[in-house]
């Protein structure tokens, strides 16, 4: 068994930042990741990092924009902490040598992004995430932080007290991909989940194949509620064939969206009369799909994003990567012709419930980055707010886990923060599945930490042995069916019958998942087995998203419902919470905190 003070699961932006912060507090910290750190999906982020750096900008403005962008579903303490910490984090990166794009005087450049009242997005070309990831990995190498790479964490080692708030997390259990061994990892001070997004729940996504939401599913099964999962961000500009992302930076620099009639539809049809292409992402995504649905899409599928007028020099300076992506993945030369784009799944606003210090309701368990829901983004995330989020909250989680001196958090967590029980509609059935991975190991309080980890190792060993030794169906079709139904039924536009259909399909997938097995019997680098276990996580997350979407009967941010075309603040200024209850999602609500250092009065969002 490996033992460390702090274990960070996942080695993308949030994980790296958390590990560095914990190390700076003097902790013995190790990272456990199913990839190698530089393979993490943070590397695919393009646009930039929002932080109020200019003297005429302020954290208050950033907080205000973020709260408005969230459609007033962000919690003020999260939003304010974020806006206050972000500038220091960006300067920190700069001091670590991050190759930011520069102004003539040598200072870092900032550009406009959707939904921002000030150009506050710092960037490095259109490959900001790549540079951020590598810069932070360099710091991890410099500090000699232990990295266990190609270790797929299968579940958490958590005690099984009845009340989730009495439970403790003592470590994790991972599958060593290269050797096939099951390994126990004990953390004396804390486990930080930073496993990234769950994009693979959908068919058309900008997310990497590895983004199967493992952290969400593990925390959920251990008893931590998932918060606001219905809020899925669809990015307005992804390449139609592959889902590859075309950065918001293109619109930030002045790129224009056209429909099939060459109309600048954001203005022509009044979707956003002030901000046009730079309205927030939910607004632009709906506008594009409305164009397609009303017959003004190109090939009935997509719209055009034109950047030719920006000129070759500016494009090469600031958006060169976009030219390569459009060329390599769509065969289009962005200097000569407009690029085809359509909305694609991009980001999960909801996630593992935690507070400003990354703590979940289970002692010793933290979450950070996209996996976490602090809640910062509420119903819609602003472009350029994901990278500072993983810096700010990654650092805070790392520091807190390592015992750093921090103010107590203001955001309440756990079922005791519950304000209101929720009911699911009676006519839906949720399927239980016991095909491995129910967390909560061992026999509660009486048992020491090592035993909890060892018991979980034993459970996972049995699970893996069974998947390897038994005959069964291939997981790929099950995964594919989930992705198809989610894209067809739980997309940008949501209708009640579709949501129910998706739940039926998910239930069927759960049943079929009981009969999956890996057909590759090898103990060496068995990706068949790996993907089979990931698919389990995908099913749990798909269900949480769909149940949340069905429960929320209003139109807020990214969550559009056919029957409910208004934001209903009187009833819905609250977070959707789902807790794992013997395999069934249990629904309850927690109020939104709109009061922090400032107060945020919900207003109609117009762009």
């Amino acid at each position: 068994m490996h033992e460390h003070d702090v274990l960070v699961v996942g080695a993308g932006g949030a994980g790296l930042r958390a590990a560095i912060a914990a190390h700076e507090e003097g902790a013995d910290v190790a990272m456990v990741t199913k990839l190698h750190p530089v393979r993490s999906h943070t590397g695919a982020a393009e646009g930039g990092i929002n932080a109020a750096l200019h003297p005429e900008d302020s954290w208050e403005l950033h907080a205000y924009d973020t709260m408005k962008g969230s459609d007033y579903l962000g919690d003020a303490p999260a939003v304010e902490t974020f806006a206050q910490d972000a500038p220091d984090e960006v300067i920190q990166l700069e001091h670590w040598g991050m190759p930011f794009s520069r102004e003539e005087d040598g200072t870092v450049s900032q550009r406009p992004f959707g939904g921002l009242s000030h150009p506050r997005t710092t960037y490095a070309g259109a490959e900001t995430g790549h540079h951020l990831l590598h810069t932070m990995y360099e710091q991890v190498v410099k500090r000699g932080i232990t990295v266990y790479e190609e270790q797929q964490v299968l579940d958490l080692a958590v005690t099984d007290h009845d009340d989730v708030e009495d439970r403790e997390c003592h470590g994790v259990v991972a599958y060593d991909i290269a050797s096939g061994e099951i390994r126990g990892y004990r953390a004396t001070d804390g486990v930080i989940l930073a496993t990234g997004g769950p994009g693979q729940v959908f068919d058309h996504t900008t997310n990497a194949v590895a983004n199967t939401g493992d952290g969400y599913a593990m925390a959920y099964r251990a008893g931590v509620p998932l918060e606001d999962m219905e809020f899925v961000q669809f990015h307005p500009t992804t390449l139609p064939s592959t889902g590859v992302l075309i950065s918001e930076g293109v619109r930030g620099e002045g790129g224009i969206l056209y429909n099939d009639e060459e109309e600048r539809f954001m203005f022509e049809y009044g979707y956003a009369n002030n901000e046009g292409e730079l309205a927030s992402r939910d607004v632009v995504s709906r506008a594009e799909l409305t164009e397609v649905n009303e017959g003004r899409g190109i090939e009935d599928e997509y719209v055009h994003l034109d950047m030719r007028h920006l000129g070759e020099e500016r494009i090469l300076d600031r958006l060169e990567n976009i030219l390569h992506l459009a060329e390599d993945f769509e065969g289009v030369d962005g200097l000569d012709e407009p690029m085809p784009v359509k909305p694609g799944q991009h980001y999960q606003m909801g996630g593992v419930e935690c507070n400003e210090n990354g703590q979940t309701c289970i002692d010793g368990l933290y979450a950070a980055g996209e996996t976490a829901c602090v809640s910062l983004h509420g119903a819609n995330r602003l472009g350029g707010n994901a990278l500072p989020e993983l810096l700010v909250f990654g650092a805070r989680a790392g520091k807190h886990a390592a015992g750093g001196d921090m103010k107590d958090a203001e955001i309440p967590t756990g079922p005791s923060a519950e304000s209101e029980a929720g009911d699911l509609p009676d006519d839906i059935e949720i399927g239980a599945v016991d095909a491995g991975g129910e967390s909560v190991a061992a026999d509660g309080a009486a048992v020491d930490a090592e035993t909890v980890v060892e018991a979980e190792v034993q459970r996972q060993q049995e699970r893996v042995d069974r998947l390897l030794e038994e005959d069964g169906i291939n997981h790929a079709q099950v995964r594919d069916d989930i992705q198809q139904t989610m894209t067809a039924n739980v997309n940008v536009f949501r209708r009640e019958d579709n949501l129910k259909e998706a739940l039926d399909d998910i239930r069927e997938a759960r049943e079929r998942y009981r009969h999956v097995a890996a057909s590759d019997p090898s103990r060496t680098y068995n990706t068949d087995l790996m993907h089979t276990m990931e698919t389990r996580n995908i099913i749990d997350i798909a269900e949480a998203i769909t149940v949340g979407a069905l429960a929320r009967e209003e139109f807020r941010g990214a969550h559009w419902r056919e029957q409910y075309q208004e934001r209903r603040d009187d009833e819905w200024l609250k977070h959707t919470m789902l807790a794992w209850s013997d395999g069934n999602p249990e629904l309850y609500y927690k109020p939104v905190l709109l009061e922090g250092e400032k107060e945020y009065e919900p207003k109609e969002r117009s762009y």
Partner: protein, 296 residues
Amino acid sequence: MSTQIEQEQTEEQTDAEAAEPAEQSPQERRLSEKKARAEAREREEQAREEVRDADETVRIKVFRYDPEVEGKEEPRFDDFQVPFFKGMTVLDALIYARDHYDSSLTFRHSCRQAVCGSDALFVNGQQRLGCKTQMADLDDPVRIEPLPHQDVVKDLVVDMEHFYEQMHAVEPYFQPDELPEGEREEQRQSPENREKVKMSTRCIWCGACMSSCNIAAGDNEYLGPAAINKAYRFAMDEREGEIQKEDRLEIIEQEHGVWRCQTQFSCTEVCPKDIPLTEHIQELKREAVKSNLKFW
């Protein structure tokens, strides 16, 4: 699925949370095995139908090897016929073959947009990223092998440990002379200097260059193009200062450093991010000579 099984399994859960795998009666077990086999057959048949119906198909010849599994310890090539679609990449073809014919087919892949660097492969005799290589640009059949000059773990997966060690050997992190004083004070970097290091910062650690390099193949200790490029990225960054630059030049001037490069350009040719690796190596050689001259 029958409700009976559902009930049994729920009971088990309450009895012993840890109890798994779920106990099945021999009959149930046989049934589910039978069902699994039937589904697998159906799936393959469906894939074959898709191939028959496809307007165009394409053949890939894929290197296979697994030290663990009987019959696979001897390296061989497997052929897969997959339906072709416009825009199809080598990675797409591999995924199709894996998901429809043989789920044991093993390769690394993640971002599928040429930035994570995990799917560098040897395709029709050249190092390329599977995700950004169009099938339409390749001669049929497309031959897909693991990166040469690396130890093969299984099928197309190679051991990257040595590559990472070489990357780490050049002190791959920023070491500025001193940081500016004052709260939130940035270090200034001129746009020209950023431009100078820009290409070198694009490296995604895919290992294609190292695999293509004859020198690296013959000299296991040679730092190799990627690590030297990483050294370049910092040595040329004006914010690090002259003293640090001297230290960096010393690292790359070691016996197995820049002077091993014979300017064959193979690294530059295969780099999926178009980094002028050979040029960077040459420039560091020049810098090293200049710096040595100072002491004569």
